[in-house]
């Protein structure tokens, strides 16, 4: 009989609930800014195409944000329920940071969201625009704090450990810890890429279907111009982030690059099957010296191999190695699509190129996969530590937690989230199928449900 291990189950549970949660904000951060931009353009130009777009994307936003909120509430209790020793040890730093996130970001988002969703006809236009900006600002401030907290766990600074408890010695050093800057810009760009590719993909699909052509062309062009800058910029920021990780968490980089033995002039592996038990890779395909060149800026630079660390101090190489490749692969694909789209926009051939439109609409799920893969790289790569080098994951577990309790909640969360996710996706697909045009026409449709007060993502033409 296999013993239920509360540590393993808690890790799976945290990975599950945080991954589930992460896909919503990464989309809404970008989308909130886009809606604010649309509201701003509407305010300045009075062009109703912007209102059409804003109304439509606000509906999508409402559903996605709703799922983000409820799964986010879960996150604020996870630390305490499953990782109480870690919570207690790191509370002096993480507590204030999370409290600041709540008061400077969550309230701003949540309260102004009500006005954004339900207040269009209740407040002056300028005020509605202001509400849209506050929601967008809230999402960005939120990412500032949460990434500071996460970065501190990766590269702790500004604290000292006394009797198992972290005490803050410098707030500036702790908040702006060494990996915070690169990570913040990396994630912020990822949010804009995600929002941009979803809006672009949906707009491209509408153009293929001939739905709301004017608004869709406008939306697609706006996105492509932004993406043509953001996608290549992500490559540069990602590189800076990688160098930062190489400096502060070399074991993680060794896992990312698939390096077991310390190597001078290490190759950039395009493919390999790392074996943890044999401490080697199979079927390696690589570009000679490239990894050393990227990380040390020298062809024969030295890359420390994972064997430099004792087995119990190593992250899981296969997960980190492959997640990294998924992320980078999708990132490169994004650059190609974005540049191609910008070129088509410039030549004014965007609408004719069916192949581009089809490909762009197929891109919709990919940024989410890239974001999750990226988080897998950085979080699995931090193991076996909760606070890198200072507090082990196994130390942080709640002592009173039994395997049965952890299994109960893990199963519970999976069930609850499956229901919510399936329903949410079904409704999103329905909203997107319906599209901006029809939604506007339906305002005046007669019928039993046409005049009822509905939610923001109201669907009046549903049979």
């Amino acid at each position: 009989m296999m013993e239920l291990d509360p540590l393993l189950l808690s890790r799976i549970q945290f990975a599950f609930v945080v991954s589930f949660h992460a896909i919503f904000p990464v989309f809404t951060i970008g989308l909130a800014s886009y809606i604010a931009l649309l509201e701003g353009l509407l305010y300045r130009t009075g062009n109703l195409a912007y209102e059409q777009l804003s109304r439509f994307w606000t509906k999508v936003f409402a559903v996605v944000f709703g799922m983000g909120v409820v799964s986010g509430i879960v996150m604020s209790f996870q630390f305490g329920t499953n990782w109480s020793v870690f919570s207690y040890a790191s509370a002096n730093f993480l507590g204030p940071i999370l409290a600041y996130e709540v008061v400077t970001a969550f309230f701003l988002e949540a309260v102004f969201l009500g006005v954004l969703l339900f207040g269009r006809d209740k407040v002056p236009r300028g005020t509605h625009l202001f509400a849209a900006c506050m929601v967008a600002l809230g999402t960005l401030i939120s990412s500032f704090w949460i990434l500071s907290a996460n970065s501190w766990m990766q590269t702790p600074a500004g604290v000292e450990l006394r009797d198992g408890i972290f005490h803050v010695t410098s707030w500036t050093e702790a908040i702006f810890n060494p990996s915070f800057g690169p990570r913040f810009f990396h994630v912020a760009l990822a949010s804009f890429l995600t929002g941009g590719f979803v809006v672009a993909g949906v707009s491209a699909w509408y153009l293929l279907k001939g739905k709301a052509p004017e608004a869709s062309r406008k939306a697609l062009q706006m996105c492509l111009i932004m993406l043509a800058f953001a996608a290549p910029a992500q490559l540069l920021v990602g590189d800076v982030h990688g160098l930062n990780t190489f400096k502060h968490q070399p074991a993680k980089v060794a896992a990312m690059e698939g390096v077991w033995e310390t190597t001078d002039g290490a190759p950039l592996l395009l493919f390999a099957i790392p074996s943890q038990s044999q401490e080697r890779n199979f079927l390696e395909i690589g570009i000679p010296n490239m990894a050393s060149l990227i990380l040390t800026h020298e062809l024969n630079g030295t890359l420390p191999g994972l064997k430099e660390w004792a087995p119990e101090d190593r992250p899981n190489m296969p997960i980190v190695f492959w997640s990294f490749r998924v992320m980078v692969g999708i990132g490169l694909l994004m650059i190609i699509i974005a540049l191609w789209g910008a070129w088509l926009t410039w030549r004014d051939r965007l609408v004719e190129s069916k192949r581009f439109l089809r490909l762009t609409s197929l891109m919709i799920p990919l940024p989410f996969a890239a974001v999750l893969a990226g988080w897998f790289v950085t979080e699995v790569g931090r193991q076996p530590w909760l606070v890198h080098g200072l507090h082990r994951t196994s130390e942080g577990l709640t002592p009173s937690l039994t395997g049965a309790m952890a299994l109960f909640t893990l199963t519970g969360y999976i069930t609850v989230y499956a229901v919510v996710f399936i329903a949410g996706i079904t409704f999103l697909v329905r909203i997107i199928r319906q599209g901006p045009d029809q939604a506007d026409l339906s305002e005046d449709l007669p019928g039993a449900h046409a005049k009822r007060p509905f939610s923001a993502a109201d669907d009046k033409t549903m049979a």
């Binding site: 409820v70 969201l113 329905r430 939610s455």
Partner: protein
């Protein structure tokens, strides 16, 4: 050494935040609990729309409660959550279902709304019960060694906590009903008056029962009550006065008074609880001062919160003002 007692200030701030949560999410959870009693789908639309623009902000106070405890009283965070592990999960699952129901219910086809009606009701009910059970568990105390909970998974679930759970369900239902009295009219308002009337009796009865039970089970609390009876008599008396005020308000068909009177009842119960438990944060052993984070962390957080919380209160009040007035059938927020 220190001129000001930061921990004392923090007790006030967290106390305020938790009360804001109980009161604000209380009425929208209450509306959820009342969902099956509405006579028609149209009434359910109105009920949901009366809280749709504000529920998200209301629930954020819960997140502040969590993060605030971690920041100022990490011991409470690190003992309550493990001790209430199963209950916390049930509460969160409830909040998830009722939270998504706001969006999903209106988007489902009319014949497929039923599951989301049930999700909204069931989620609200379970969350309210679990929160009430937390109150009971706090009075009951926790088995702690050093700074960790060492009790079992279901220590929190006792006849006493079941009663406090049901008590809070009744309390939230009363809040929800008096909120609906304010925000609706006609048939739905009449229903709200009728339910509120019954709930006043239920809530006062639970007050009495919890007080007697607490006195019987925890001699030191009874001792404290008797010792300070000269001052503490004010709590049952004022509660009774608030109850009568509420009752008369309902009788006169007043629209605002019942809600305000309910708020007064909640406040009295809340203060009464804190005074009875004082100064224990994690009874029976740890006080708020034992549970506190480092003074430096308390101060760092305090400085920001003192600036930001008034701003939050201001814009929250503003949105309530934007969405003031009655919610009517066939009149949406478009």
């Amino acid at each position: 050494m220190e001129l000001i007692d930061l921990t004392l200030i923090w007790i006030f701030i967290i106390g305020f935040g938790v009360f804001m949560y109980v009161f604000m999410d209380g009425f929208d959870l209450g509306v959820g609990i009342l969902f099956p009693f509405a006579g028609s789908d149209e009434h359910r639309d109105v009920m949901m729309n009366s809280v749709a623009p504000v529920w998200d902000g209301n629930e954020t106070w819960l997140v502040l409660g969590g993060a605030g405890l971690l920041a100022a009283f990490p011991l409470i965070y690190a003992v309550f959550l493990p001790a209430l592990y199963i209950g916390v999960f049930l509460m969160l699952a409830g909040l998830i279902f009722r939270g998504v129901a706001f969006e999903f219910r209106f988007k489902a086809a009319p014949e497929k709304r039923r599951p989301w009606d049930i999700a909204f009701f069931g989620g609200s009910l379970v969350a309210a019960f679990a929160q009430g059970a937390v109150v009971g568990a706090y009075i009951q105390g926790f088995e702690v060694e050093g700074f960790s909970y060492v009790g079992g998974a279901f220590d929190w679930l006792t006849p006493f906590t079941v009663m406090t759970g049901l008590g809070l369900v009744a309390g939230y239902t009363l809040l929800g009903a008096t909120w609906l009295i304010m925000k609706t009219e006609g048939e739905l308002q009449t229903l709200a008056y009728r339910i509120a009337g019954r709930m006043v009796v239920a809530v006062l009865f639970v007050f009495l029962l919890v007080s007697l039970w607490t006195a019987a089970a925890h001699p030191h609390i009874l001792e404290r009550w008797l010792e300070h009876a000269a001052v503490l008599w004010i709590f049952p008396t004022l509660s009774l006065v608030a109850g009568v005020w509420l009752w008369r308000g309902l009788g006169h068909r007043a629209e605002g008074t019942p809600f305000v009177a309910t708020l007064a009842l909640f406040l009295l119960a809340y203060l009464g609880l804190l005074i009875s438990m004082w100064p224990y944060a994690v009874p029976p052993h740890h006080t708020f001062w034992d549970a506190a984070s480092s003074p430096d962390s308390q101060l760092f957080t305090l400085i920001g919160l003192l600036f930001v919380i008034p701003i939050i209160l201001a814009y929250t009040a503003w949105t309530y003002w934007v969405f003031r007035g009655k919610v009517r059938i066939g009149e949406g927020y478009h």
